[in-house]
């Protein structure tokens, strides 16, 4: 396990380094000087020169990269070209919207998907089981933003029980307003995500239900509930946990569109704005923070899976092939 931790941790660090290089290069190969964000169309050569000096794009690439890495290590994400405010604190502000949105939606999706997926598998030979899984099939085909728009139409415009969008200016200082502002977005993300989760839970459960070891347990006298509890849960958890890691990562970043539907000041909308304005420090900063989050989630999901499955643990000493 320790060896694995070292190896997987090394991989994590390498991935982070790779991601920062990739991010840096990706943005430098984009056409157009980052300094353009500061300039108007009729800028004089002197103004251009000054702007390039200000954003650092006059220096050679390796030097820019080292500067950037140095800042990263000090957790300094630079200043926005457009607002000239530091990027880091703005990201923190926006995480206060995105993190609760993503985590609540994620938790709600699990709460919906695990029992429904399980029952779907148990009832797979009945018409109601088939109906639920057909509905979840339908659910994964529905665009998130459309679900959001339909919910807005029904609950905000017709029933007027929730706001159609926006976030209180006071933020979490006004918890009631913040909560009602996030209700529909959370519901939107959770509904769409649970549709895909249900299918994973269902297929993992079906695998277990058809497994020989479950049959062995039954032949030795276990009731199906008992066999499911003793053998099924852990066996089904493995594949589901690895999917959960991916799903959490996607939700965290996949809130972009939902934030746009509900006009929420989250990380996603910060990125969209950054891209529209060619605001490089903002783009880099947001992408860096999201990448770190996603890679760390992946790391944790891998560890969790390894703890669940002894067959994976063995592979730490040697190669699996």
């Amino acid at each position: 396990m320790v060896r694995y931790l070292v190896r997987r941790g090394g991989l994590l660090v390498a991935s982070l380094l790779f991601a920062s290089v990739a991010l840096f290069l990706l943005l430098r190969v984009l056409p157009g000087d980052p300094a353009n964000a500061l300039l108007t169309v009729d800028a004089t050569p002197e103004q251009i020169e000054a702007a390039r000096r200000q954003v650092g794009s006059d220096r050679p690439l390796p030097e820019q990269f080292v500067t950037w890495l140095g800042q990263l290590v000090r957790l300094d994400l630079g200043r926005s070209f457009v607002s000239t405010l530091p990027v880091g604190p703005e990201i923190t502000d926006r995480l206060a919207v995105t993190v609760p949105l993503a985590l609540t939606a994620f938790a709600l999706a699990i709460v919906i998907a695990v029992p429904v997926g399980y029952l779907c598998a148990r009832w797979s030979r009945t018409w109601y089981g088939a109906t639920i899984s057909a509905l979840s099939q339908l659910g994964i085909a529905v665009p998130v933003f459309w679900v959001g728009m339909l919910l807005v139409f029904v609950f905000a415009l017709r029933l007027r029980v929730f706001p159609s969008g926006g976030f209180p200016r006071a933020g979490w200082a006004d918890p009631g307003a913040a909560l009602t502002a996030l209700t529909l977005p959370v519901l939107t993300v959770a509904l769409v995500m649970s549709a895909s989760l249900i299918r994973y839970v269902r297929s993992a459960t079906l695998d277990v239900l058809h497994s020989d070891y479950l049959r062995t347990a039954r032949a030795l006298g276990a009731s199906s509930a008992e066999a499911m509890w003793r053998h099924g849960l852990r066996n089904a958890a493995g594949p589901v946990v690895s999917i959960l890691g991916i799903e959490l990562a996607t939700t965290f970043l996949g809130t972009v569109v939902v934030e746009s539907v509900f006009a929420l000041p989250g990380l996603g909308s910060m990125l969209v704005k950054g891209i529209m304005q060619h605001d490089y420090p903002v783009i880099q900063g947001v992408l860096f923070v999201s990448t770190v989050t996603v890679l760390v989630i992946g790391f944790l999901a891998d560890l969790a899976q390894r703890l669940l499955d002894p067959r994976l643990r063995r592979a730490s000493s040697g190669r699996s092939r």
């Binding site: 991935s15 790779f18 728009m149």
Partner: protein, 271 residues
């Protein structure tokens, strides 16, 4: 007819139907795409089957053109993602130690960027166009396909009969042709059909954010975005493009589900 076969047929019918609409839109549409003669926000019915948008353009026409864009994006992305992904995945599947680790880590990082964000970056670089969308979605997909291929290849290579073939001195190309590809492609095809649906959804999101193919070629995502601003006066505009998206993606997923019948016996052997 088995359930899977029914899925395959139903899915093919749905996708085929939209394919026919897309083809038809090349020859004939009720109105020209940018014809604004219909008057603003005409209700559904009469000459304008689905009504008009806030500029007076015919929504049925836009829906037909949107089918073309959606299918083009999906097919283009699958072509790019499938080719690149299979190549990279095969290479990684056969690679050893550090090279394999390197490729796997690279893929993990690329996959860590959600498709949509990657697409947004490409759009920022190349400008919003159908080409940008297809390229971006194809690239994002190739990482997913590569990772799947790598896992499948590794699994096949670990099988007893493949190990036997390898130790008995069968050449690499023959191992790939006789053991690896036949075991890999069924699962891959199923996955590509699913990826097609995901690409269509991603393009819709991109268009919804205003980063998709520019007007006058309305994609379904953009239609929805415009419908959102007039939802109070013309809520009907929300319905058709959303349903069209669902139909196409459900169709693709049904096809994938049906194809599993082909994949299953082989996948069973590979597990």
């Amino acid at each position: 007819m088995t359930r899977r076969r029914r899925s395959l047929v139903a899915g093919a019918v749905l996708v085929g139907l939209l394919g026919a609409v897309a083809l038809l839109s090349l020859l004939w549409t009720p109105f020209a795409v940018s014809d604004t003669s219909g008057g603003r926000l005409a209700p559904p019915g009469g000459a304008h089957l689905l009504g008009t948008d806030r500029l007076g353009r015919d929504l049925a026409t836009q829906l037909m053109v949107g089918a073309r864009i959606a299918l083009l994006t999906g097919l283009g992305a699958v072509a790019i993602g499938g080719t690149l992904g299979l190549a990279a995945g095969l290479a990684a599947g056969f690679a050893q130690r550090w090279l394999d680790d390197g490729i796997a880590a690279t893929l993990d990082v690329v996959i860590a960027f959600p498709t949509l964000l990657l697409a947004m970056l490409v759009v920022a670089a190349r400008g919003a166009s159908l080409g940008s969308a297809v390229l971006a979605l194809g690239l994002a997909m190739s990482a997913v396909v590569a990772r799947l291929t790598r896992i499948l290849v590794k699994r096949v290579l670990a099988l007893d009969f493949v190990t036997a073939a390898r130790t008995s001195g069968t050449s690499w190309p023959r191992v790939v042709a006789e053991h690896v590809l036949p075991n890999v492609w069924p699962t891959l095809v199923v996955n590509l059909a699913l990826q097609f649906g995901l690409a269509v959804l991603a393009e819709a999101s991109l268009s919804y954010l205003g980063l998709g193919p520019p007007p006058p070629n309305q994609s379904w995502g953009r239609m929805l975005q415009e419908a959102q601003s007039t939802v109070l006066t013309a809520p009907a505009g929300l319905v058709a493009p959303g349903l069209a998206l669902v139909v196409l993606v459900v169709g693709a997923n049904l096809v994938a589900d049906g194809l599993r019948e082909v994949a299953d016996p082989l996948a069973g052997r590979a597990s």
